[in-house]
Amino acid sequence: MVLKTLVTREIKVFIKNPAFILSIILLISAYGIIGRIISAGVETAKGEQIKVRIGVVLEEKTSLIEVLLSLLNQTIGGKINVFSSASEATVENDLSIVIPRGFTENATSAGKPLYLRAGVKVDSVSPMSSQAKVGLVASIASLIQNLLPTVVGTLYNVNVPSQKIVVAETSILLYNKVLSGSEFNAMVSFITLIPMLIGLVIGINAAYAAQSTAVEKVEKAFEMLLAQPISRRSVLVAKIIGSLVASLMTGAAYLAGMFLMLSGFMSTTASARGVDLINLLGIDTIILIILSLIIGLFCSGAIGVILGSIVSDERIAGALSAPITFLFVGFGLATIYMDLPLNALTAAAAGAAIAPLPYIFISASLMGTHSFIAISAATGIATCILLIALALIMFNRDVIILGLRFTWRRKM
C-alpha cells in the first residue's frame, strides 16, 4: 500500500510535467521520421541494385564461357556487356567481372577451385547502398556456381554431380581509391560507427550541460552567481565549455574502449589484419571528423543549457535531455542509411541538422569535393552561433530564474 503511494507519486512527478510529455511525443515523432528515412534508403538501395550494369572481361574465350555468359545474361535480365579491359569495364559499369585465363580448365577438372576477379564502383559510403553493390558480386559468383553444372553437362554430355565453389576476389573503386574487400569493409564499419558515436557523445553533452545548469538551480547558488558583476554570456560560455570538456573526456573513454574491443576482435580475423584506417581515410578526413565533433559539442552544449535554463530541477533536465541524446544518435544513424546524395543542398541541410555532419564530411573528403565541406561546415558553425545566441537570450530572460511557466486558460 505504502509502496503503491510512493510509486504513484514518483510517476506523477514525470507525467504531470508538460516538458516530459512533450519529450515523449518528440521522441516518438522523430523516430517515426527516422524510420521512414531509413526505409526510403533501403528502397533506394534496392532500386540501385536492380539498375546495376555489369561489365564482363573475358581473358579466354571458350564455348563453355560463351554458353555460361549467355545463360547468365538471360538470368539477370540482359545487363551484361563485354569489355576488353577490367579498368574500362569498372569505369563504364557499376560492377565488373573478370573471367580469368584457365577458368574453363579449372571448371572441367576435378578438385580445382574457380576464381573470378571482381571490381565494384561505389560512389557512396552509405553501408546500405555500397553493400548492396558489393553483395551483388557474391550473388553473381553464386549464380555462376549454380549454372556451371548445367553448362558443363549440356556441352560435354556428362553428368556433373557436385557444384564447384566459385570465389570472387573483389576490389572496390571508392571515388578515386581502389580498396581491397577487407579494407572497404573496415572503412564502412568505421564510417557506420563514427556518426553514431559522435551522435552519442554530443547527445551526452546536451545532457551534461542541461544537468549542470539545473543542478546549480537546485543547489540555490545560481541566483547568487547571476547577481555577480559578470556578464551572463561568460556564465553561458563557461557552462558550454565545461560540458564540452567533460564530454570529450567521455568520448575519449568510449573511443579507447571501442579501440580495445576492436583491436581484440581484429587480431583474431586475418582479413582485417593490416588495415590502416588512418592511412585509408587520410589525415584530412580525421581532422574533419574531429571538427564535426567540436561543432556538434558546441551546438548540443547550447541546447543543453537552453533545456537546463527552462527546467526547475535535474530530474526534469534528465527527462528532457535523454530524448535529445537518442535523437542525436538516431539522426546520426539515419543519415548513414539514407544514402544522402552529396550536393550543396544536402551539405547545407547536414550542417543545419548537425548529426549528419560527420557522414557528409567523410563522403565529401573522400570525393575530394571541398566546396561541400565548406558549405556544411559554414552552416554547422552558423547553427552553433544561432543556438548559442538563443541560449544567451534565454540566459538574459526571467525564465532562467523562474523556470518555464505554463498557464492553462480555462474558458468560463
Partner: protein
C-alpha cells in the same frame, strides 16, 4: 555624488499574462540607509529584490541604483550590488572555503581577493568546517556561508532576502549585528526583506509595507507607529492591511 542609493519608480511585474507580482510600487532608499521590506508570502518582496538585483526584468517602471539604470546597464549596476537570495545555498561539491574563493574571485583578484576571503572566513566563523564539502553543512551553515561572501564583497548596496531564515536564535542575533556593523562601519546601504517584523523594526531606518504587490505604507518605524497608533511594527502592519483590504 548620489544622495539616493536606490530609486524605484512605478515598478510593475506581471508573470505570464495574469499573475501580478508587483503592482506599481515606488520608493527611494538613501545612501547609507537600512531599508526593510515587509509583507506576507506573495506580497512581492522577493520579486522587488530580484528586479533591483538585475535577476529579472520589470514589466514596467524604472529602477536606478546609484544613478545607474539597472534595465539599461545591468552589469554596471551589479558592480554596486551584492545579493543574498532567499534560501541561498552553495555548490555541494566545493568546500566552504572554495565556495568563498570562487564567489569572491568574480569581484576581486590578488591581494584584495586574499583579504576578502579572510574577511568572509572570519564572518562565517565556521572554523575547520570551511574545509569540508558544502554537502555536509546544515541549512544554517550554508546560509551563513552565503551571507559571509555577500558581506565580504563590500558592495555599496547589500540586498538581503530573508537574511536570518533558517538560522537559530544565536546565529540570527549574530547576523543582525553583522548587518548593523557593515552599515555603520563600512557605510553599506542595505535593502532587506523579512517576515520577522521584530527583526526589521530592530534593523531598519525606514520600512516599506507590501501587500498583494502594492506598497501600502512607507516611513520610519516611529512614523508608522505614530500614524496608526500601534505599539509595534506587527500591529502597524495588521492595522494598515485591515484598511487596505
Amino acid at each position: 555624488m548620489f544622495a539616493d542609493a536606490v530609486v524605484v519608480i512605478n515598478l510593475v511585474k506581471i508573470y505570464g499574462e495574469e499573475v501580478i507580482g508587483v503592482d506599481g510600487i515606488s520608493f527611494t532608499i538613501k545612501d547609507g540607509e537600512i531599508y526593510g521590506l515587509i509583507g506576507p508570502n506573495g506580497s512581492g518582496k522577493t520579486t522587488t529584490l530580484r528586479i533591483i538585483s538585475t535577476l529579472i526584468k520589470p514589466s514596467r517602471g524604472e529602477v536606478y541604483v546609484y544613478g545607474i539604470d539597472i534595465i539599461k546597464e545591468p552589469l554596471r549596476a551589479r558592480n554596486m550590488i551584492s545579493y543574498l537570495p532567499e534560501e541561498a545555498g552553495a555548490y555541494r561539491d566545493l568546500s566552504g572555503y572554495d565556495f568563498m574563493r570562487f564567489m569572491l574571485s568574480l569581484r576581486f583578484s590578488g591581494e584584495r581577493l586574499k583579504k576578502a576571503i579572510e574577511e568572509a572566513a572570519e564572518i562565517a566563523d565556521l572554523g575547520g568546517s570551511l574545509k569540508r564539502p558544502v554537502r555536509t553543512y546544515s541549512k544554517g551553515m550554508k546560509r551563513i556561508l552565503a551571507l559571509s561572501t555577500v558581506l565580504a564583497s563590500r558592495a555599496r548596496l547589500l540586498i538581503l532576502d530573508e537574511p536570518t531564515t533558517g538560522l537559530d536564535v544565536e546565529r540570527s542575533i549574530y547576523v543582525r549585528d553583522l548587518i548593523r556593523k557593515y552599515n555603520m562601519e563600512y557605510g553599506a546601504t542595505i535593502l532587506l526583506s523579512s517576515h520577522n517584523m521584530l527583526e526589521v523594526e530592530y534593523l531598519s531606518t525606514r520600512v516599506g509595507l507590501l501587500h498583494r504587490g502594492k506598497m501600502i505604507a512607507e516611513g520610519t518605524v516611529q512614523e508608522l507607529k505614530d500614524r496608526t497608533g500601534a505599539r509595534s511594527l506587527e500591529e502597524v502592519y495588521l492595522r494598515i492591511k485591515g484598511g487596505a483590504g
